[in-house]
Amino acid sequence: MRVERSQKPGARSQKKNVVGSRPLFYWLLASGFWLLPMSCKSATQAGHNSALDSTDLVKMTDDMAMKLLASPNVQEAIARKGKLKVVVQPVENRMTAEVLPRGPAEAFTARLRGLLAQHAPDKFTWIMNRDAFYRLRSRELEGVDLGPSPDAVNPEYALTATFSSLTNEDAKRRSSYYLCVYELTSLKDRSLLWSDRYEVKKQAVKGFLD
C-alpha cells in the first residue's frame, strides 16, 4: 500500500519539498536555542522595583522648588532679610526596608538646591554642609592640619528632607507608600519657615522566577 502511494505521479516531488523544508525548520529551531540567551537583557536592564527612582527625583524636586519659591513665608523672609543663607542636608531615611545610600540621599536635596540656585539666584546663598565641607577639605588638602575653617559662613536656615514609607512584601508583591517631607527651618529659633510633601504609592508584582 505504501509502495503504491509513493508511486503516484507528483508524490515524489511533493515529499521532496516536505523533506527539504524540514531541515530548514530544525536549523531555525536549533539557531533559536542559541539565540535565546543572546536575546536576554542584562541584570540591570530588565526589571523594576517599588523604590523611589529618577522620575520621582525630578517630579518631586521640581514640585518642591516651585512651592518653596511661591511660599508667602519665604517671600516675606527674603523681603525682610535679603538673601537667605541656607545649608542643605542629605535626606534622612526613615523608610521601612528601603536603603538610601549617601549618593541618592544627597541627590534628592541637591537637585532642589540646584533648581533654586538656577531660578532664584538673588534669593538664596547656599552654604555647603559641614560634613561635606570637611570631607572636601580633607580630600583637597590631604596631610594638612585643617583646623577650624577661617572663612566659615554661618547659615541661618537648613533645607532638610525626611523620607518615610509604609512598605509590605509577600510572595506575590511588594508595595510601598512614600511620604517625602521637605522643610526649611530656622537654625536660630527652630521655627519652620516652609514645609511641603510629596506622596507616591508604588507596587511591584512578582512574576515567574521572581
Partner: protein
C-alpha cells in the same frame, strides 16, 4: 534501475539522513553544551571562593571584582561573593557597593522576563539571573545592614535588617501576618540587630518590642536580647562560624535540595572570647542566633521546579519508550526494522534532550556561614587584643591586636572564623586604613 544507480542511491541515503539529522544533533549538542563544563568565569569565581576559605580575602576580591561588574546571569551572585570577601577584609566601601548592587536586583521584579524565562525553561535554568533562595536574599540584606551598622549609619542598617526579614516572606504564599511571623522566627539575628538599631536611633519602644519578640520566639536568646545588656555594651563582636548549606541534586540532577541537614553537621559549638589575656564571661548569651542549615531545609518550591521535574519524568519515559522500541526494532527485519529503529532513535533523542534541559540550577552563595554569634560586651575604652576561639573545634581561632573600643558609643567588629587562619592581625586592617581617614570605626 541499473546496479550503479542502485548503489548511488544506497550511498546517497545515509548522507541525506545525516543532513536531516544534523539539526537534531546540533540542537542536542547545543543543549548539552550549555550545561557542560565550567566557563572561565565560573572557574575564576571558584578560585575566588577557594581564596576566601583560605583567608586570602584581598586575592578573592581581585578575582571577583571584574566578574561583579558583568551584568550577566551571575551578577547578583558575584556581587554577594565580592561583598562577603570585602566585609571579611574590612573593605567596607567595596562591601557596601557590592551588596547594594545585589540588593537592587534582588529587590526588583521582572529581571528574568522575556528571553531569560523562556531560556531557563527550555534550555538551561542557569540562564536566569540568580537572585538566590529566600534565606540567601535575607543574608545579603543582613550583611548590607551589618556594613552600615559597623559604620554607624543606623537608619540604613535598620532598613536593610527590615528588608532581610521581608525577604523571608517569599517562603510563604499567604499574606497572613501570623504565618509570615512564623517564617521570620528562625531569622532572629536580623530581629536582634534591628532592635539594636532602634536602640541607637532612640526608639526605645521599638527596641523593646523587637527584643521581646526574640525572647518570645527563642527563650534561649533571652539574655542576648536583654535591653540593658545591649544598651550598656560598647563593643559588639559579630562572629560568623561554620559553612552554610550546599545545593545538592538527586541522581539525575533535576530535583534540588540543601545539605547537610543540621543533625548531619552536628551541634554548633559555643565561642570563647579572650580580651587582653582574660576570658570573658559569655555563659548566658553565647548562643547561636540562627542555623542556616535548618533554614535551607525550607527551600521555596517554584514553578520552574515543577517544570523541570515534569521534563525529567517525561524524558525518562521517552528514554524507556525508545529502549522498548529499539529492542523491538532489533528483532525485526527490513522496513519495519528501519521504522522502529528510527522511532527508537527519535524517542531516545527527545528523552535525552528533555533530560539534558532539566538539570537544576545549583549556583549558590558559598561564603555563607552556618551561624552568627552576636556578642555585646562592655570593656574598658582603649585598645585591646581580642581573640575569638571555639575550644571544641581545633584550629578555629582568630586574634586581632589593638582593636579600638571608644569612650562613647560602640565599636562593632566582624570575625569570619576560618579554619587555620588564626592571625594575629593588626588593627586597623590595610583595607580600612586605606579607605578611611580615621583608624577605627568612629563612635556616633
Amino acid at each position: 534501475m541499473t546496479a550503479d544507480e542502485g548503489q548511488s542511491t544506497r550511498l546517497a541515503a545515509p548522507r541525506r539522513g545525516g543532513l536531516r539529522r544534523a539539526p537534531f544533533i546540533c540542537l542536542l549538542a547545543t543543549t548539552i553544551l550549555v550545561g557542560c563544563g565550567p566557563t572561565k568565569q565560573q572557574r575564576t569565581a571558584g578560585e575566588a571562593v577557594s581564596y576566601y576559605f583560605s583567608g586570602d580575602y584581598p586575592e578573592a576580591q581581585n578575582k571577583l571584582r571584574p566578574l561583579a561588574k558583568e551584568t550577566n546571569e551571575n551578577f547578583v551572585l558575584n556581587n554577594v561573593r565580592l561583598g562577603s570577601a570585602a566585609l571579611a577584609d574590612y573593605d567596607l566601601t567595596e562591601a557596601e557597593d557590592a551588596f547594594l548592587r545585589a540588593y537592587e536586583v534582588i529587590n526588583s521584579v521582572g529581571v528574568n522576563d522575556g528571553g531569560r524565562s523562556l531560556g531557563a525553561v527550555l534550555v538551561d535554568e542557569k540562564i536566569k539571573i540568580w537572585k538566590g533562595e529566600p534565606f540567601e536574599r535575607a543574608m545579603a540584606n543582613f550583611d548590607l545592614g551589618l556594613v552600615y551598622y559597623i559604620q554607624h549609619d543606623y537608619n540604613n542598617a535598620r532598613a536593610a535588617f527590615e528588608n532581610a526579614l521581608f525577604k523571608l516572606h517569599d517562603y510563604d504564599d499567604s499574606t497572613d501576618k501570623k504565618k509570615n511571623q512564623d517564617v521570620e522566627s528562625n531569622f532572629n539575628v536580623a530581629t536582634l540587630m534591628l532592635a539594636r538599631t532602634w536602640q541607637k536611633l532612640g526608639r526605645e519602644d521599638l527596641a523593646h518590642a523587637n527584643f521581646d519578640l526574640v525572647k518570645q520566639r527563642d527563650p534561649s536568646l533571652a539574655q542576648l536580647a536583654d535591653y540593658d545588656r545591649n544598651a550598656e555594651a560598647n563593643l559588639l563582636l559579630v562572629v560568623e562560624y561554620g559553612y552554610g548549606p550546599q545545593k545538592v541534586t538527586d541522581f539525575d540532577g533535576a530535583i534540588v535540595g540543601f545539605g547537610p541537614k543540621p543533625y548531619e553537621a552536628g551541634r554548633i559549638p559555643n565561642p570563647r572570647v579572650v580580651i587582653d589575656g582574660h576570658a570573658m564571661d559569655l555563659d548566658s548569651f553565647d548562643r547561636p542566633t540562627i542555623d542556616l542549615l535548618a533554614m535551607a531545609q525550607d527551600r521555596k518550591w517554584q514553578s520552574i521546579d515543577t517544570i523541570r521535574t515534569v521534563k525529567s519524568v517525561v524524558g525518562t519515559g521517552l528514554l524507556a519508550a525508545g529502549a522498548i522500541e529499539g529492542v523491538r526494532g532489533v528483532n525485526e527485519y527490513g522496513s519495519s526494522q528501519r521504522r522502529d529503529l528510527t522511532a527508537a532513535a527519535a524517542l531516545a533523542g527527545a528523552g535525552l534532550l528533555l533530560k539534558a534541559t532539566s538539570q537544576a540550577d545549583v549556583r549558590q552563595w558559598e561564603m555563607l556561614p552556618r551561624t552568627i554569634f552576636l556578642l555585646p560586651l562592655k570593656v574598658e575604652p582603649g585598645t585591646h587584643d581580642i581573640t575569638v576561639e571555639f575550644p571544641m573545634v581545633r584550629g578555629v581561632r582568630q586574634t586581632w591586636r589593638d582593636m579600638v573600643v571608644p569612650d562613647k558609643g560602640e565599636a562593632t567588629y566582624y570575625f569570619r572564623m576560618q579554619r587555620f587562619n588564626p592571625g594575629p592581625f593588626q588593627w586597623p586592617p590595610p583595607a580600612m586604613a586605606q579607605n578611611a581617614p580615621t583608624t577605627s570605626p568612629s563612635p556616633s
